[in-house]
């Protein structure tokens, strides 16, 4: 059996979520003692695949082998019993408990008496052995994120994990902490541990992994590529794909006056680290500017800072002649500035309110919806009925709570709200992520229609095909900096790939 060569092997894994094929017959395997990078965009299915391996999800089809033996996992306990441990992106730690207490959380042993000082000794010894020093008595909340991550890794080692899955471990770390993590990982492979390293950061993948497997839209696009024999540009291309799967009919853009002008913009991410550095951009009426870049290079922060959800740390933003800063009344901008948020359900809707009430979220401050201090209920109803017809939203009634809508219909509600008010500027973040082909096409047509109607559109997407077919100009960002700008027509995908990996190219 060939499986015996592999630390584990997954074959033909299928996992569906409502409306999404997260894993479409995926094969994946690791040698013992290697660092294997699982590379792909957000939503490519990497985390889903690894959650299957860690016993959190159960696949609809497919088989898993550990050391050549077929296994079925019913829970993470089964998985850890076979030596597989996962460190999630969001740590699974109890903040008010100590490190040692977190170690034994969820373990079946000891059954009655907990000898915590013994656990503390074991943890300290384990930490020393692997260079993961943490004070076992410290409470989790006292630790910085890097230390918390070490606790997570230690927790898995404590449970006897031989195969360690790290889901985007560097996302929360400073460069120094990343260096120290990599050191630990190399050390662990020396001791026979196998490491799956989930990431979309090309630099790190090339730096740490022995082999790379690339996923895209739920499928594996490249298997077991030796890291030494590849380049960042090649990986970027594999990651974002290049086959054109639909063509969009659109006229030549007629760019007019500048609607959005960004000058020397700086901002920080949630961790307080710089997310945008000296970014300058302009978007004009009647054009779509696409922002290309590998995920996590400042796209989310750019969208947030432009829509008032995040403070700029420096620089200037102008929306027409209105400065966008801390004095801006975002409620008053209302529908002039449309925003299709990245996380539609969690950010773009109030699930307990009715569809009709969700449809006025951006215009309740302006007539006809607003009538003095009150809200004109008749206008709310009429508005809802009109938009539901226009955008073909399917639902029992406009008074149905938004949480009862399917993902596609909820997206239509948000699109209807954001585009119906003739926005001057539209910021669309991954507007088609997770949608099927039909819905994707509908969204694209709406965006083109808005452009032709004179809106300035900033399109942030990780899907290079989408960017190439929709946008009129492309700006590539890397680590929060603008790498370059070019017209989409005649843009070389190879050049874009290089720029997404951070290389300055004279276009």
């Amino acid at each position: 059996m060939t499986e015996s060569l592999n630390a584990f092997e997954m074959r033909g894994i299928v996992k569906r979520f409502p409306g999404v094929m997260a894993n479409d017959h995926v094969d994946f395997a690791c040698h013992p003692g290697e660092v294997h990078a699982l590379l792909g965009e957000n939503g490519a299915g990497k985390s889903t695949l690894m959650n299957v391996l860690a016993g959190l999800y159960r696949p609809e089809a497919g088989r898993i082998f550990v050391s050549g033996q077929r296994v079925t996992f019913r829970s993470p306990q089964d998985s850890i019993a076979h030596g597989i441990g996962m460190v999630h992106q969001h740590f699974m730690l109890v903040a008010s408990h100590s490190v040692a207490e977190n170690m034994v959380l969820g373990l079946n042993r000891p059954r009655f008496f907990l000898n915590l000082s013994r656990v503390e000794e074991q943890v300290a010894a384990l930490g020393e052995q692997y260079g993961l020093a943490v004070n076992p008595r410290a409470k989790i909340w006292e630790l910085c994120v890097g230390e918390q991550q070490r606790v997570e890794v230690l927790k898995m080692l404590f449970r006897g994990a031989k195969i360690l899955i790290l889901d985007e471990p560097t996302a929360v770390l400073t460069p120094q902490e990343v260096e120290s993590l990599f050191h630990t990982l190399r050390d662990m492979t020396q001791r026979g541990h196998t490491i799956v390293f989930i990431s979309h950061k090309l630099d790190e993948v090339v730096a740490i992994s022995d082999r790379v497997t690339v996923m895209r839209r739920g499928k594996v696009t490249a298997v077991n590529v030796p890291s030494r024999e590849t380049t960042k540009a090649q990986l970027a291309k594999l990651m974002v794909g290049r086959e054109i799967f639909f063509q969009i009919e659109k006229k030549e853009a007629q760019p007019g006056k500048v609607v959005l002008s960004i000058e020397h913009l700086y901002t920080d991410n949630d961790r307080g680290l710089p997310a945008l550095r000296d970014l300058s951009l302009q978007v004009r009426t009647g054009e779509i500017l696409g922002i290309a870049g590998v995920a996590g290079n400042g796209q989310r922060e750019l969208a947030e800072v432009l829509t008032g959800l995040r403070r700029a740390a420096g620089g200037k933003m102008m929306f027409g002649d209105i400065p966008l800063d801390k004095h801006t009344s975002w409620v008053n901008l209302g529908q002039k500035l449309a925003h299709i948020p990245e996380d539609r359900a969690a950010v773009g809707s109030a699930p307990g309110l009715s569809v009709a009430e969700n449809l006025i979220l951006k215009c309740f401050h302006h007539p006809p919806i607003a009538a003095g201090w009150s809200i004109n209920r008749v206008a709310v109803h009429q508005n809802a009925v009109r938009l539901v017809g226009e955008y073909q939203i399917t639902m029992p009634s406009v008074d149905t709570p938004a949480r009862m809508l399917s993902g596609g219909n909820l997206q239509k509600v948000i699109l209807a709200r954001e585009t119906s008010g003739h926005p001057e500027l539209m910021i669309a973040v991954h507007p088609t992520r997770g949608l099927d082909v039909g819905a994707t096409e509908a969204v694209h047509n709406i965006l083109i229609k808005q452009r032709d109607a004179g809106a300035a559109i900033l399109l942030i997407s990780e899907d290079l095909d989408e960017l190439l077919s929709l946008s009129d100009r492309l700006a590539v960002i890397y680590e929060g900096r603008l790498v370059g700008e070019m017209p989409t027509k005649g843009a070389e995908i190879h050049t874009i790939g290089l720029m997404m990996a951070g290389t300055k190219v004279e276009a």
């Binding site: 077929r70 996992f73 019913r74 950010v347 109030a350 307990g352 309110l353 009430e357």
Partner: protein
């Protein structure tokens, strides 16, 4: 070789269809269930017949059928109540109790709607009572016109309550300090504040732990004052405070469901991220909601002192907590709160004579507990599900399915 094994597991699913009548049904079922559980406690506490006890509570709270009949016929004949009894006495007492409950309930509703857990309505009410008393006794002269006096007292109560509510609101908005802790703790500060003025300090008269009697202009007119015109109202202490509560409830219902600001509050309460996304200022609204919540509780305090006609060291605690329970029972609906407050006023009046004294609190607690429990059962569907499972381990890699 495959071994198949079936097992069962409980599955809890969110109910998507959640019609409005379900809320009413769950509230009624909850109260009934709470009464049954409370019956066992009453039994354990020594009541031989819990049902008889409940009957007693009911008649104490609302009067008997015979009383009502006698009262109605006396009213029609423009006579006094027969043999010196108070036909509508219990009802009047219940309404008197219901009015502070209704106002503190509204205070809780406006905050809870935004998922701000203000459990400090009690303290805000105390400050309202304190400020209204100050105005009545020390600021305005005794001879002030009654309407002006009561208006000024209400304003003072509202102002004091809202300022006292603004403190936790401000701390929550600016420093993200948990409002449950701050509002709860500030209750005790308010209790002590009042104690200082009444028991220790400057406002008490002699050793009575009480302020002097309010001037007539600073008191709610009672129905019994009109006994000359209507003999039936002799001895009835019901006052316009209940109307203040009802008007406030109607206003609040309008604000929540019809106004732009109420819409914002409901969006914030439902999904703060969506509210921020829409440009709604969360911090300002947190403070504003706490101010309004405190204002309603402060008004309850003014209402109470104007009804009691004096402020004593035994000014009753706990209306703010009863408000929490009533708010939940009314499912945060201000109009439903009118009805539920009336029932709770009855519960307080009816259990006044029952020993041990904790019975009213016990029933309140059980009702809240059970109502929230039944509400969960209505929100979710619990199902027993059969699971078929292939058991680990299996040997070798055999043919695919």
């Amino acid at each position: 070789m495959k071994r198949r094994l079936s097992s069962y597991r409980l599955r809890i699913e969110t109910r998507l269809d959640n019609p409005g009548w379900m809320g009413i049904v769950s509230a009624i079922l909850g109260v009934l269930l709470a009464l049954i559980i409370g019956g066992f406690v009453l039994r354990a506490a020594g009541a031989a017949h819990p049902i008889a006890t409940y009957q007693k509570i009911f008649t104490e709270a609302f009067g008997t059928f015979a009383d009502w009949r006698a009262g109605i016929s006396a009213l029609l004949n423009h006579q006094a109540c027969p043999k010196g009894s108070l036909c509508f006495g219990p009802l009047s007492d219940t309404l008197v109790k219901a009015s502070p409950i209704l106002l503190t309930t509204l205070a809780c509703i406006v905050a809870f709607r935004m998922k701000l857990w203000n459990i400090g309505a009690d303290g805000q009410m105390f400050f309202g009572a304190w400020a209204a008393t100050g105005v009545a006794l020390f600021v305005l002269p005794k001879t002030t016109d009654r309407v002006v006096m009561l208006g000024a007292m209400a304003l003072a109560g509202i102002l004091a309550g809202s300022l006292y509510g603004a403190i936790p609101g401000f701390l929550k908005a600016k420093l993200n300090i948990n409002e449950i802790i701050t509002t709860l703790m500030l209750n005790y500060v308010a209790y002590k504040w009042l104690e200082y003025f009444i028991v220790v300090g400057p406002w008490s008269i002699g050793d009575f732990e009480s302020t002097g009697k309010f001037p007539v202009s600073a008191t709610w007119p009672r129905l019994t004052e009109y006994v000359k015109q209507f003999p039936i109202v002799a001895g009835l202490t019901v006052h316009p405070g209940i109307f203040v509560g009802i008007i406030a409830a109607i206003l609040l219902a309008w604000v929540l469901y019809r106004s732009r600001w109420g819409y914002q509050i409901r969006v914030i309460g439902d999904n703060p991220k969506a509210a921020r996304y829409a440009g709604i200022n969360l911090e300002r609204n947190v403070i504003l909601v706490m101010v309004i919540s405190g204002a309603l509780a402060g008004l309850a305090g003014m209402n109470e002192v104007a009804a009691l006609r004096t402020l004593t060291g035994r000014f009753q605690r706990g209306y703010g907590f009863t408000g929490v329970i009533v708010a939940w029972l009314a499912r945060l609906n201000p109009l439903a709160a009118i009805f539920v407050s009336f029932l709770f006023g009855g519960l307080l009046v009816g259990t006044k004579l029952i020993q041990p004294q904790g019975i009213a609190s016990m029933l309140q607690g059980v009702i809240l507990f059970v109502v929230i429990g039944t509400e969960l059962l209505f929100r979710y569907r619990v199902r027993l599900e059969k699971v078929e499972q292939i058991v680990v381990p299996e040997t070798g890699a055999e043919h695919d399915r």
